[in-house]
Each structure stands twice: as C-alpha cells, then as structure tokens.
Symmetry: C2
C-alpha cells in the first residue's frame, strides 16, 4: 500500500511510479481535481489513464483515507490517536469520518468503529465496492453511509439489496436540494441525481434514509448498542405531562406507536403512584418518584414496561436534580438492559445539566445509549425500527 | 397574594377562606382536578362557583405557579435558587418552566427570563390574559409559549395580533396528533382543537410555530441574544465540504437562502485561501485555516460575510482540536458581533468535545449564542427569520 499526499499536479507521476514498482493499493489524499476546476479535471483524467494501464486499486483522490481498527491501521493524515474499535462501519463521500467527525465521536461518544472508508472523488473504489466489502466483513454489524452521488446505481442496488438483508444500512444523501447539489459539485465533483429517484432507489435497496449530519452519529451510536425492535410499539416515562404530550406528537410523526398497557403493567405502576395520576402509556412517573424515590419509581416503571408483551422498546426521561434526589447509582438501568436484552432502552434526561452529565457518564461506558435532548431517543428508535422494517421487506422480497 | 398547596379536595374551602378574607390573587398548585377524573372535575366546578362569587384572580389549579425576576418573586414550590433575570417571557400550559426545565435553562444556558407563567387548568387566567400582560411588559422582549388548548380563540387572536406587532411570539402547541391529544387530556384536561385550525390561527395571529420541546429553549436563547434579521440570506463557513452540502440542503428545507457573495467579499476570502479551493457561499474555510491559522481564517471569513450587503446573518462552524490549533481566545467573535450588531452571528462547532465546551464557555457569557449540534444554529436562524416575517406581515395588515 502507498499513501500519496502530494499536490494534485504531482499526483499522476507519483501514482505511475508506485504502480510501475508493483504497488497494488494506493490512497490519493490531495484535493484539487475535478472538484476544483478544468485543470483539476484534466489531472483526474490522467489518473484514470494510469489506472487503465496498471493493475492498481485506488482510493480517492481527495480523501483522508481509511481506517481499520481490527488491524490497528489508518491511512488518514489526521492526528486522531488511538481509534476506538467497535462494530460500526462508515462509508463516506467525505474525509470527515477519518478526521474531525471521528475526533468528535471519540471525544464525545462511547461507541467504536470497525472500518471507515473516505471515498473522495472515487475514480476507482466507489460505494458499491465498499458496501460489498463491509457487507461481508464480520467485524461490521451495521453500516452508516454518507454519499453525494451514486456512481453505478444498478450495481449499487444489487449490492445493497444483498447487504441490507444481513445488517442495517443507513444513509444520508447530500445534495438533496438545488443548493446542496451546487455545494456537492464544489466538494467532490458529484453530479447529484434527482432526489425522488434517490429516495426510490434507497427504498428498493432496503437502506434507511437519514435527514441530518447529526443523525450519522446518532445512528452509529444506537446501531452499535441496541438490537432492532420487533415492532414499533414504544413505552415511555417522563416526569412531566407536557413532555408526554409533545413526545406523543413526535412518536406519531416518526411512525412509532404508543399502545395501551396490559392491565397488569398498568396496575404495577399505578400501585406506586398516588391516585390523582391515572397511569397509562406514556407514563407520568413523577408523582411516583416523589412518593417512593426517583430510582425506585423509574426502576419499577421501566421493568413493568419491559415485561409488557405489547411494548418493543422503552424510553425513560429521567429528571435529575440534587434537590429532588439523584439516584445513588444508575446500574439498575444496565441490570434491566441485561435482563431484557431484546428490547432497546434509550435514555434521556432533563433537570440540572451537571446531574445529566453525571448520568450520561455512568451509563454510556456500560453500553447504554443516552441522549442530551429529549427528542433524540425517539429519532434513534425510529432509525432502529425503520432498519427492522427494511430488513423484513428485503427478506420477503428475496423469498418471492 | 395567597399560594394554596393543598390536596384537590381541600382546595375549594381554602380558596373560599382566603377570598372571604379579601385576598385578591391566588395561586392553586395542586393537581387532581378535571385532568384526573369525574370527582376532580366536580371539585374544579366548585372552584368556578367560588370565582363567580368573589372578586379574586386565580392562577391554576394544577400549576407550579409563576416567576417574576424584576421583583425577585416566585410562587413556585420547586427549589430553583436564584432565577436569572433576562428578557424572555414564558407562558406555559405546564409547570415545567417554573420547575425542572427552568433548572435546565439555569444550569445549561446563559439567557435569563423576565416572567414565567404556568397556566395549569386555567379556570381564570388563561393565555390571552397572560399574553396581553407580557405584551405590555417592558421587561419582556420576546414571548415563548407552550399551549395544549386555546380557551378563547377569538380573544386570543385579537390579543396576539396586537402583541406580535411589538415583539416576537413563538409557540409550541402540544396535542397536534391523536396520540398527543390523548396525553393532553390526561395532563391539563385540554380539549385540543383540529391541528390545521391551530395552524391557521397562529398564522393569522403572527405567532411563529415551533415543532419540538427543545425548540422552546432554543427559541428563548436566540431571541434573548439576537436581533431579527432583515431577510433570510445566510452566509456560512464550515471546515468540511460535506457539511457545506448537507447544511445547504437544510437551509433550503428551512426557507433560508444562500446568496452568491459580492465579488469583493469573495476576493477577500479567496486571498487567504489556497487556489485549489474556489471560494463561494457557503465558505469552505479549512484550507485557509491550515494556511493562515484557525483564528485568522475564521475572523477574516466572518468579517467579509458580515460586511457583504447581500448577507443578513452569519453562521460559523468552528473546527476545534488541540492538534489542529485552538484559537488562544474567542473574543474576536464578540468583537465582530459588536461591530456588526444588526446581523445575527450563530455559532456551532465540531472536533474535540472538550475544545467545543471550552469555546462555548468562552462565548456564551459574552452573549454569543452557541449550539452543540451543527444543525441547531440554522433552526435558530429560521426561528428568527420567521419572527421577522411574521412581524412584517402583522404590520402590513394593521396598516390596511
């Protein structure tokens, strides 16, 4: 393997050199090719001519390279230090996931990655090949993609259909709008397709579409820690009626259902709740917390929901301040997760920021995903659920 | 003023007592009225009968009370400590803003409040009256509302139209969906209206509608620190082509435009940028940061955008890691804001979480709003812009 980090104009000669010396794999890091101007486009054409003469596999140009944590390797020029090993694979038509977005993930989140591929201008390795590789990779349990264009749509569809039956694949497509397309052209010389066609393609491929950059991180986090839920039936607890209302609205918008509780579940939570609160789903938990303590109320409420056969995932919103009582520890949440491993538990909080940070620091290293904004666990669950649906549809189709 | 914190069944007698003794203003804190069951509904009817006999103004029941920072007063039972004085007024059909959501704002944000009114079941004081009061209140520069129902829609429309000409009014309406309406009925006995009617009413009233609970905090933050922009033309800088692409898509979805730069602006930024990056709006700033330092590149880029007559607001996404160089201080951002006070500057970042926190801690106390997720300054700017539009339309209508 050779990594060439030279200005665009010096890159073709260097590529020819290493190829002539028998190097089979090359990463081309520099920018300044088709994404910049006519001159750059000509240099990129030179690279293609070299490719057609030598048997050499090229990543880039215009890429920060790749990462492979199982073999502790990176071709990235960015000083990331040790990259945390995990089960998420990133395929990105940007260098961010081998540079500063990875830095953000390493410094702010607890999940790790298996492989990261920064595709750049993809004169050789493109998304279909990268996806096929990660699809077969036993280190990679879920694949998160960022693309600005799809080079060979037919090939991509056929690869993605196969991979999406095996593991979750989610994607943010940059350049969905005219303004985004213009920026994409300046970024990776991408010619973005009509967005409805992309939508249709991803749907057929069994790939779940994301809407924001932040969801690329959210998806990695939740797919690395949670199983896919059986169905979309969520049970959630919050310390506030208003939160229950607006989060119910959010569930509807996200396609999550809030089923009635089994009478047994309802009675278990009602038993610790003063009578002026009538327990239903979603669960108004604060009166119980005042009556029997924050930890005990949430533990009872969460366990009852987890054991309810009509519930597929549980979201507690903890209310944490010293004045109202911080749980002495949060291991009860991890215990619940262990005993009910099939149902995702996604955690958020409100109250004193310091207490929220404390809860996050306690739970995330135990593999429990927490979210600083109360809407985020619902976005995350919706990603999980759509992945489950996409897989089911993919498998049905393959049986037809 | 009397604050009655007794169980629902004991509340009518206590209200009668204090009213008979000449108390003119009463806060009724307990829950357990119409939101709970038939019995509670009967007790609430008793309260109404008392109201019709005595000249007494009632807030609640089922409320955490109110806050008035200019006179350092609160009727809330929640241990909040000193509540930060500021220019944002909250009117909420929930107690959260006089309890734990205020705790969150106090511990996580830098902005302060003028008044907070928790409406509860609003047997007397309702949203129209609270809005009229805050509309005339010189301490309140912008009003953030959370409602689950609108008691007197005609009165509300007429009050809101007047207030929205004077100051920004934004609202989250809980109970927009069937699931949300059911939760609202259990929360404040609210009978939520058909959502399209609410949409029409708010549009006519000049009130900007929010979509999530987190935006209630985001809106308070941005309205407390920024002027409304003249138009919707944003200039933004990011360290990454992919971010420029997806944030351009986001701008389109939010109704923000990304105009071409004046040639002079373009040349100023191009002058510090290596030629392989062609400067345009949005601005790919990282090559310049590598060439002349992070602080110098962002300062030059931001100043050029702020001085461009085609740009109404500027959003820098800082890339912060120790390895790539942290600015020695961030006061240049506050300096820029002071010299270009009419144009909002909304800040976000990526990179090392610790460095991001450091930047936030430096800028927020100076009145510069920062956002931990790169999409948030765009949501915030869209709120500001929609407030500006709503005001313009309100004023046009009043001149007709």
């Amino acid at each position: 393997l050779a990594v060439i980090i030279l200005p665009a104009r010096d890159t073709p000669a260097a590529l020819r050199d290493v190829a002539a010396h028998g190097v089979k794999h090359v990463v081309l890091s520099a920018g300044g090719f088709a994404e910049t101007d006519e001159v750059g486009a000509c240099i990129q054409q030179e690279l293609l001519d070299i490719l057609s003469r030598y048997h050499v596999t090229v990543l880039g140009p215009n890429t920060s390279g790749h990462v492979s944590t199982p073999v502790r390797f990176t071709s990235s020029f960015f000083p990331l230090g040790e990259i945390r090993r995990g089960n998420i694979g990133y395929i990105a038509q940007t260098g961010n996931f081998a540079t500063f977005t990875m830095k953000y993930i390493l410094s702010s989140e607890c999940f790790g990655v298996s492989r990261v591929v920064g595709l750049g201008n993809k004169i050789d390795i493109e998304e279909s090949r990268a996806l096929a590789y990660l699809g077969d990779d036993p280190e990679t349990h879920a694949i998160v993609m960022y693309l600005e264009s799809i080079k060979y749509p037919r090939r991509f569809l056929s690869v993605a259909r196969r991979v999406a039956q095996q593991k979750p694949v989610v994607m943010l497509k940059g350049g969905a709008t005219t303004a985004g397309k213009q920026a994409a052209s300046a970024h990776t010389a991408a010619l973005a397709a009509e967005d409805r066609i992309v939508d249709g393609l991803l749907g057929q491929a069994g790939i779940v579409r994301l809407q924001t950059y932040t969801e690329l991180i959210l998806a990695g986090k939740v797919l690395s820690t949670c199983r896919l839920p059986i169905k979309n039936r969520v049970g959630f607890l919050a310390p506030s009626g208003a939160m229950l209302v607006v989060l119910s609205d959010l569930c509807t918008r996200l396609g999550l259902s809030i089923p009635p509780l089994c009478e047994e579940t309802r009675e278990r939570i009602q038993a610790i709740t003063p009578p002026f609160i009538r327990i239903r789903n979603p669960v108004d938990i604060w009166a119980a917390a005042l009556a029997c303590g924050v930890k005990s109320a949430y533990a009872t409420g969460m366990e009852a929901l987890l054991e309810d056969p009509n519930i597929d995932a549980v979201i507690p919103i903890f209310m944490l301040t010293r004045e109202t009582g911080m749980p002495d520890d949060f291991s009860f949440v991890a215990d619940l997760a262990q005993r009910h491993g099939k149902k995702p538990i996604l955690i958020s909080f409100t109250g004193d920021k310091e207490c929220m940070d404390e809860c996050r620091s306690a739970l995330e290293p135990l593999g429990m995903p927490t979210f600083m904004q109360i809407e985020e666990p619902f976005y995350a669950l919706s990603i999980l659920y759509r992945c489950a649906e996409a897989r089911r549809k993919s498998r049905c189709r393959s049986e037809d």
